[in-house]
């Protein structure tokens, strides 16, 4: 049975300019110990999806339809109090910028102990021991001394390790990493991703990795979801997505990778920009930018066509594959 199951999730934001749909009919599952990547351009709804799982959508957003099944409960219908027991306990989250996610006025130790006390009834000494152990697990040298330090005394990579250690404190089942390496420089990025992989395997953690870096996704995840304008356009095993992308948008993303062009050549790009969520085009949201656009694309949202564990929402792909 799936550990986390998101079904037909729809999230809306009522705004002055009208109601915008940030997530449109999003469904996916996550099994225990599985690593899932979510990719897409900025504003595609990746982070909203993550925050919706934890029920922390910013006001005035709300869940209009669908459910989030986790360990037998529908999180979309849980009370605030129940959610507090799940957040940081069963599902943890890691943010983009470790400079910002640690409170500047509390020591590392205080922040870690506080998280433990929020979920477990344990003594101060025991909490410190767990904190030290977790810091050691994320390869932080002399962890006892770190507990006394403030975030500004640590380097960026070190801080992200602390953030990961905090996420691990309560043995969660799922970690959601929202662009965990974007704010770090390249050498540290690789280290942090390696660490995340290692920990997922050690603790049999499920990981949802949100990123716009396809390279990172290719190296870490088993399955990948591609989102466009709040909708999943393609989902499948990561190797399939990278090597045999079916949706024109995914193909465009992969072609846009600088590695795909020879030096001196212009970089490939998908023409146009993603539409603002207030004015999503009718039918398939991608149609104004798609090179294979068909008349039906303008009027009807495509259904998923499934092949080899890969599903894709595209009229063009569906037509081409049924005719061949």
């Amino acid at each position: 049975m799936a550990l986390l199951e998101v079904k037909n999730l729809e999230v809306r934001f009522p705004l002055r300019q009208g109601e915008l749909t940030a997530l449109n009919d999003v469904s996916f599952t996550l099994n225990q110990g599985e690593r899932l990547g979510i990719v897409g351009e900025s504003g595609a709804g990746k982070s909203v999806a993550a925050f919706t799982i934890l029920k922390l959508i910013g006001k005035p957003g709300y869940i209009a339809a669908g459910e989030v099944r986790f360990e037998g409960r529908d999180l979309a219908r849980c009370s605030d109090r129940e959610m507090q027991q799940i957040r940081g306990n069963r599902i943890s989250m890691i943010f983009q910028d470790p400079m910002m996610t640690l409170n500047p006025v509390l020591t590392i130790g205080e922040q870690m102990v506080e998280c433990l006390h929020a979920h477990q009834k344990i003594g101060a000494r025991e909490a410190r021991e767990i904190a030290v152990e977790k810091l050691r697990q994320v390869h932080i040298p002399s962890p006892e001394a770190r507990l006394q330090q403030y975030p500004h005394e640590l380097s960026g990579g070190m801080r992200q390790r602390v953030v990961i250690a905090i996420a691990l404190l309560t043995h969660p089942a799922v970690i959601i990493a929202d662009e965990p390496t974007t704010a770090l420089d390249v050498t540290i990025q690789a280290e942090i991703m390696e660490l995340l992989l290692e920990l997922c395997e050690q603790e049999n953690l499920a990981l949802i990795l949100i990123t716009h870096d396809l390279g990172v996704v290719a190296q870490t995840t088993q399955r990948t979801i591609v989102m466009y304008a709040g909708h999943i356009v393609e989902e499948g095993p990561t190797s399939e997505i990278i090597n045999n992308a079916r949706h024109p948008y995914t193909q465009g993303l992969i072609n846009a990778l600088p590695e795909r062009t020879r030096p001196g050549q212009r970089l490939n790009q998908i023409p146009g920009v993603m539409p603002p969520l207030t004015s999503i085009p009718s039918g398939c949201a991608f149609h104004p930018r798609c090179e294979h656009v068909l008349p039906i694309c303008r009027s009807e949202l495509p259904d998923y066509s499934v092949a080899d564990g890969n599903r894709v929402a595209c009229h063009y792909v569906a037509q081409r594959e049924t005719t061949t």
């Binding site: 922390l56 959610m83 027991q85 983009q96 910028d97 996610t101 006025v105 998280c115 929020a118």
Partner: protein, 306 residues
């Protein structure tokens, strides 16, 4: 503890304090005033609260260096024959006590309400801030005068005289909470958008915990600045009320009531009864304000520090 002390000694804060002459002088003066006034019972030559030590025959003795000055009264005596030096020491103590406790009350009220308004937002915010607006549209003195005058009329002057310190603290404390609430709310609004608040929510912490343990410490620098200014303001409010005869009674004078009690003699030549308490009041308020200014500059990361 040792570690924090060492951190403090090595801090930029202390370094800049050492280098700033205005801050050093203000702080020393304030320290002296506080120390001297709070040890008044030990060092004052007389006890102005003890009628047996007061002789009406000594009244309006001029300060030592003037003709007819008396060795026993270095700053002269007031109309009742009380030693000015002792009375000023005791009076400063009362003024400082009222100032500090009134600000304590203001800050507890204002910080709590400001945090709640800023963090929870929505209707609670609108309600609390409109309440603050309404309260700010009455001047502190006006509210204080009305409340204190009503209290005196309702319960009699005798009871009032017993409770004067308490009443002044309450009135000044309650009248000025919006200053704190607004400042705190403004910084909370800025802080709550930062990611560490999201992170705290993701960890599964409750609202109250996030508000008081995560957001509040990050709003401390404006609170510190406003506190110094508010202490000066509270001391002045108290002095103004006492000067109007609504503050401390004559037998337990604060600086304001001392100035008031000497005021009627100022033209008949006994200027020292008003002048010395006034001088102390001015120095006290000035020094506190200067420290507040300095603190604001130091704690403001946007000002370039040389």
């Amino acid at each position: 503890m040792n570690r924090y002390w060492r951190l403090f000694l090595a801090s930029d804060f202390l370094y800049r304090f050492h280098r700033d002459r205005v801050a050093l002088v203000s702080f020393s003066l304030l320290l002296i005033l506080v120390a001297v006034s709070f040890s008044a019972p030990l060092i004052a030559p007389f006890d102005p609260y003890d009628p047996s030590q007061i002789d009406i025959m000594d009244s309006e003795t001029p300060p030592l260096w003037l003709e007819a000055g008396d060795q026993r009264f270095p700053l002269g005596t007031d109309a009742q024959g009380r030693d000015m030096l002792s009375t000023i020491l005791y009076g400063t103590r009362i003024s400082l006590t009222i100032g500090l406790f009134a600000v304590l009350l203001q800050s507890v009220l204002g910080i709590t309400l400001g945090l709640i308004a800023g963090y929870l937002g929505g209707r609670i915010d609108a309600f609390l801030m409109r309440l603050a607006d309404i309260q700010l549209s009455f001047s502190t003195l006006m509210v204080a005068i009305v409340v204190l005058a009503l209290f005196q009329a309702a319960f009699g002057t005798e009871l009032y005289n017993d409770l004067a310190i308490f009443m002044l603290i309450m009135v000044i404390g309650i009248a000025e909470w919006p200053q704190y609430a607004r400042t705190v709310r403004a910084s909370v609004l800025a802080e709550k958008k930062k990611e560490y608040v999201d992170a705290a929510r993701v960890i599964g912490l409750g609202k109250r915990r996030i508000m008081f343990r995560h957001v509040l410490p990050n709003t401390l620098s404006p609170i510190l600045v406003i506190s110094t200014v508010q202490v000066a303001n509270a001391i002045m409010s108290e002095a103004a009320l006492s000067f109007l005869g609504l503050g401390m009674p004559v037998n337990k004078p604060s600086l304001g009531s001392l100035i008031n009690s000497g005021f009627e003699f100022i033209l008949s030549g006994s200027w020292w009864i008003t002048a010395f308490p006034a001088l102390v009041l001015v120095v006290l308020v000035l020094v506190t304000n200067l420290l507040g200014d300095w603190l604001r500059d130091v704690l403001n990361p946007k000002l370039y520090k040389e």
